[in-house]
Subunit: 311 residues, 4 copies
């Protein structure tokens, strides 16, 4: 039954699956790997799945453009949840392989910059060839096509391999952000540590349009955590911007900022309000004075009074 089915960017054994399994409800859902981000999302759009789980941002490689572009175009979807997963690699080999035996290594192209230094130090002569995914690389090692694959340690068992080295990561703090995406719905209730994602198209390319966009947020005291340009497909120099703002769409300051964007931009797409992964309400930045819901409500009362001649 589709309401119990979550698709995800496959194959099995990747970091995406590992991240998905950190969600409590994953235990009671049918988890279906798909060959691509568009395929995972299309399953949601056409009703075959309740939600899709895909990577959206990588601390080393940046935004996952396939996901950003899919969310920005086509039938509208909404982000329900986010998951942050630290990314460290294990070097998986067939049982019996020693480091000195390794002549060829593989892994997803995104893995390469994250293990490059390690390779230079430990396997300077090994040849790298990219695989379609980290899990696929593991499979190719199982089949004997490569001597070793970089993948999540959790992938070893599935492919009959063993981790020769663990915790490999050139960059400290390497992590990937994943999102659970479904059909548009009423956003879940605010938790006090929320994030709101939008895609905003700028008007006829007038200089200063991005500044105006940022000021709509700034004047209401809404902090941006991410702003990322994406081409609109209308030629070099035409961009839309994916932005993540602190706060929930039911927060007055966020709602007013979004209405401001809606008025000045030709197109705004709301991608969801959802809890920030790994952040509790106690960890969020203090609101700028004058931007709490209570202050918005009090100001609205004042306006109603003076419009009515009562002061």
């Amino acid at each position: 039954m589709s309401a119990m089915r979550y698709t995800y960017l496959g194959p099995e054994g990747t970091f995406t699956e590992a991240a998905l399994r950190t969600l409590p409800e994953a235990a009671t859902r049918e988890l279906v790997p798909m060959v691509s981000v568009p395929a995972a999302l299309d399953a949601v759009r056409n009703g075959q799945a309740a939600a899709a789980f895909v990577p959206i941002e990588n601390s080393v490689e940046g935004g996952v453009t396939a996901t950003l572009d899919e969310l920005a175009s086509g039938e509208q979807l909404m982000i329900y949840r986010e998951v942050l997963l630290p990314i460290t690699f294990a070097l998986l080999v067939r049982p019996g392989t020693e480091l000195s035996d390794i002549k060829t290594v593989t892994g997803h192209p995104v893995a390469q910059p994250q293990v490059r230094n390690w390779l230079r130090g430990h396997l300077p002569d090994a040849l790298w060839e990219s695989a379609a995914s980290n899990a696929d690389g593991a499979r190719l090692v199982q089949e004997g096509r490569f001597d070793a694959a970089f993948a999540g340690e959790f992938a070893a068992a599935r492919y009959g391999l063993k981790p020769l080295v663990s915790e490999i990561h050139d960059a400290e703090n390497a992590e990937t952000r994943f999102v659970l995406v479904g059909r548009p719905a009423r956003p879940s209730a605010p938790t006090g540590a929320d994030k709101t994602s939008v895609v905003v198209w700028l008007g006829d390319d007038h200089p200063g349009a991005l500044l105006e966009l940022l000021q709509e947020f700034a004047v209401r005291g809404v902090n941006l955590m991410l702003i990322q340009s994406r081409p609109t497909g209308a030629g070099i120099g035409n961009y839309c911007f994916a932005a993540d703002a602190e706060g929930h769409i039911t927060d007055r300051r966020v709602g007013e900022a979004l209405m401001g964007l809606k008025r000045i931009c030709p197109k705004v797409r709301f991608l969801g309000s959802y809890p920030r992964a790994g952040v509790s309400p106690a960890d969020t930045a203090a609101l700028r004075p004058g931007t709490s819901d209570a202050e918005f409500i009090s100001a609205a009362d004042w306006l109603a009074r003076i419009q009515d001649g009562r002061v």
Copy 2:
């Protein structure tokens, strides 16, 4: 009956009375001159008059500080109307006086800078002494204390004088703005060419507070026509600001800007929304895209929809 009584800054025969009489309803009101702006306004505050008519801004001398300060403090009042009056002076003398006879001239101190060049050219040796008002100057000429007075030409008859020279004004475009002030009430309906006046106190003197104040207006596309600092009385360096904004408090962009001020400033006093004198709706500047009421309403509908999960 106080409901039919308008006070004004007297005495009779000044520009203030002349400006007041341009209001259609002045013909059916009891017009009572008062000795000072505070006296004229206090009559409204204590219920002895329905409204007071006082000067608020002079194109040569600047804001009329007595009026600004009275409106900013004490029991709250509201501007109902404004009147713009071109200011040109006549040189009033007793019948028979020739220009060559004039050794002493008088007038309100505010008149002096507006006739200084004329005096230098035509009566370089005449001694100037200030009077309490232009009308008072005329009375002193009538009594023989001075040879000539600068006043509005309309004051001649009342004091048995004749205008020896008319249309005297050093500055082109000299004009004074007057306001009709009453007790707080529901503002009159918007006309399409309206003005909204407020007084805003800035927070604890942090640099940039004025910039933030202006941005609350700018981000909603609300133009300011006047911004004038006034001391708060709490020592050098402590100011409040009187601001006139284009638009009516029932315009969404104006209302949202005022709510923004209300949230970030320790105190905001609404002084009224009223028709702009001498400006028809056709003469007003085009709204910045995204700031019309229709666009505010459409954005609010959009927000309600996405908050409800409908896209």
Copy 3:
């Protein structure tokens, strides 16, 4: 000899003279009272005096418009020094007069709002009539025209009066700022707690011009301590702005901000850089990061290097 002569806004015995005498060099100058601010400044312009000492800002009444307007127009002058003087009044009477004898009081119109509450409490029935100056009021009491005058206590001896009550001031912190004005010269060296005064005319009245003016200061981290609109004389709605900025014109951030103003405004008049009265360098606000002279110089070096192909 004119180089030793300072004019000041007279008459003798006013707060202006008292403030002037706080300057060390006043002891060795010929101090000449003048009948008006323009007269005091004109003596400098035509070479009869080395400098003029005039009030420029009053914490109760606001900017002294005669001074602001004189500095903004005519032949250019420059502020050399400022003096802050706390303002408290004494009630001066002829010897033998008791409080219960007082039926009439006088003083400068500016004094009235500063003693209004005191009068209401102690002499509710006394009639107030304004004098041309506080000192003039004292003289009129001496001559028997009034029973009492509000003036500086220092004026008592000069007019054979005695202070019946001292330290009268409705507003706490009432003070007046005076400036010593001379012909344009190289500003005195920075002290670390300086102020720079300018008058800025805005362009063709486009909305947002004031915001742009403030941003020229803000983007270079230059705090404004005062911004005051003055009519340009070209009709209601046409203003120039007198602004006091923290810092000295030889500070890079101040110089760059002024050049920015010079480029975007039709007219900028520099009124001087001078030490802030009553503020030591230790009391000044910390500079915003990136705005010190050292950082400006370092950035200029960097620019020169990269323009030259060295990185």
Copy 4:
């Protein structure tokens, strides 16, 4: 000799080579294909080549992250030139192959979204498998591994293929921007239609830092043509920004804006000032008043005069 050698992102037969050959000097250089962007740039860094030619931005896929990240890190390089190339694909097949024979197609992953719609319409059942480059896809067709490859038409001859269909491109205006990158040097002289590229790191992640960055440009009237966030590698939420600004580093407004960035940002990397491809000086936007070199120079003269006491 390395001074005559240009590396480029290979292999031969790609759009990159085609774009490189539009440069006049390409005819007299030794053009060496490299396996990756880092390899092409490293050849410049280590002195084996005078310059490298690599893609930097794609109107469909966005910034070429390998190039952006290589330019932002490591030993500093500089952009000398840019080239814009319209991107349309040909479907290359072995001679004799008909459309109805095609069961498998290949091409670079970036090509896929640009031909997806065409495939859906003309070869709905063909299986897509990605190749390492468009040229590599052509080679694989030559070797018989696939029936058809999407590549530039210019690649057909090299691999013994023929273009079965030409001018395939889902998106109108698809184009790619390439840059010629060398070691830091004095930038070429301004042409009147120039572009300046920088990478800017924001400070300790304070909200509003991006807004401040944009204001440094805006207040000097410098338009931004591109702003693109890239992860710094220090974890999700840490970004630097690659920005392209209109103008040349020797333009005063650009220089002052860059110095402003240098002061407020922990790190700024200058990537070069170079002529805008396809834009003549006549096509550039008018400068905002107050931002021309003449106005900067005039304001600097004014500042020097008033600092010197001459007005």
